[in-house]
């Protein structure tokens, strides 16, 4: 049975490191991929999730370790799991990020491609 296709549009980034830890929006997309054939469209500051980075350091507050979100690792996991990750090229330009600096496997695209993607997916979710 083929899974139904869903497109997650993510534009708000960094929504609470200490609160979310692992449970951030890319984790949600990865979790949903078990039930849906997920694609992601990153735009706005969320395009920064598609940049390869070093693993974030663990934060200690009050002597308690707080694991910071590892967005970039999860973006790589999405690609590895078969989620098509699109990255808004205009957003990259606005932030001064070169496409060549993106992590492997993600797809920079002009915003005009978004309308076609919406047509290709049964569900479009703003997450």
């Amino acid at each position: 049975v083929s899974r139904r296709r869903a497109l997650a549009i993510v534009e708000r980034a960094h929504r609470g490191a200490a609160e979310q830890q692992y449970a951030h929006v890319l984790w949600l997309v990865r979790s949903l991929h078990g039930q849906f054939d997920m694609s992601a469209w990153l735009r706005g500051a969320a395009v920064l999730y598609a940049l390869p980075r070093e693993r974030p350091a663990t934060l200690a507050i009050g002597g308690v370790a707080v694991c910071l979100p590892d967005y970039e690792a999860m973006a790589a996991d999405l690609v590895a799991a078969g989620v098509t990750v699109h990255v808004s090229a205009p957003s990259l330009r606005q932030l001064g990020v070169a496409e060549r600096d993106l992590a492997g496997g993600v797809h920079p695209a002009e915003d005009t491609a978004l309308a076609r993607l919406c047509e290709e997916h049964e569900f479009v979710w703003f997450l």
Partner: protein
């Protein structure tokens, strides 16, 4: 700056914005933790949904991570509890009573102080420095 508890200054951090919106809460926690580490006194005043950070019902850890079952993630309540335990005489974590009741976040954990809203200005006046963060 002298870092002994006796000479430390009093810092008031107003955490007005809601959690899960930005890295505001993380910033506030880090500021408070560092100020305590340097020997200062800190009062954290939470308004709006920031009052939910210390709900007793949060328990010690977040729900299990379905993608990494064996990992444990600390709840915000546990983080605040640890901060209070590390500096019981120098950290006060206050909950705006009005916001708490408005949001229904009344099941607060032990150790925090539910405080009448009008006391905010009084605490502000008593502080050597203050920083109010976020938009209610």
């Amino acid at each position: 700056m002298d870092s002994s508890p006796e000479s430390g200054r009093t810092l008031l951090l107003g955490l007005i914005g809601g959690p899960y919106e930005s890295d505001l809460t993380t910033t506030a926690l880090r500021l408070a933790d560092e100020a305590l580490r340097q020997g200062h006194r800190v009062t954290v005043w939470t308004c709006g949904f920031a009052t939910a950070l210390t709900l007793a019902t949060l328990g010690a850890s977040k729900p299990r991570n379905l993608l990494a079952w064996d990992t444990v993630s600390t709840s915000t309540a546990a983080v605040v509890r640890a901060m209070l335990a590390s500096a019981p005489d120098r950290l006060t974590w206050r909950i705006c009573r009005y916001c708490m009741e408005e949001r229904g976040t009344t099941a607060q954990m032990e150790g925090v102080r539910v405080t009448a809203a009008h006391r905010f200005l009084e605490l502000l006046a008593a502080a050597d420095a203050s920083l109010v963060m976020g938009v209610k």
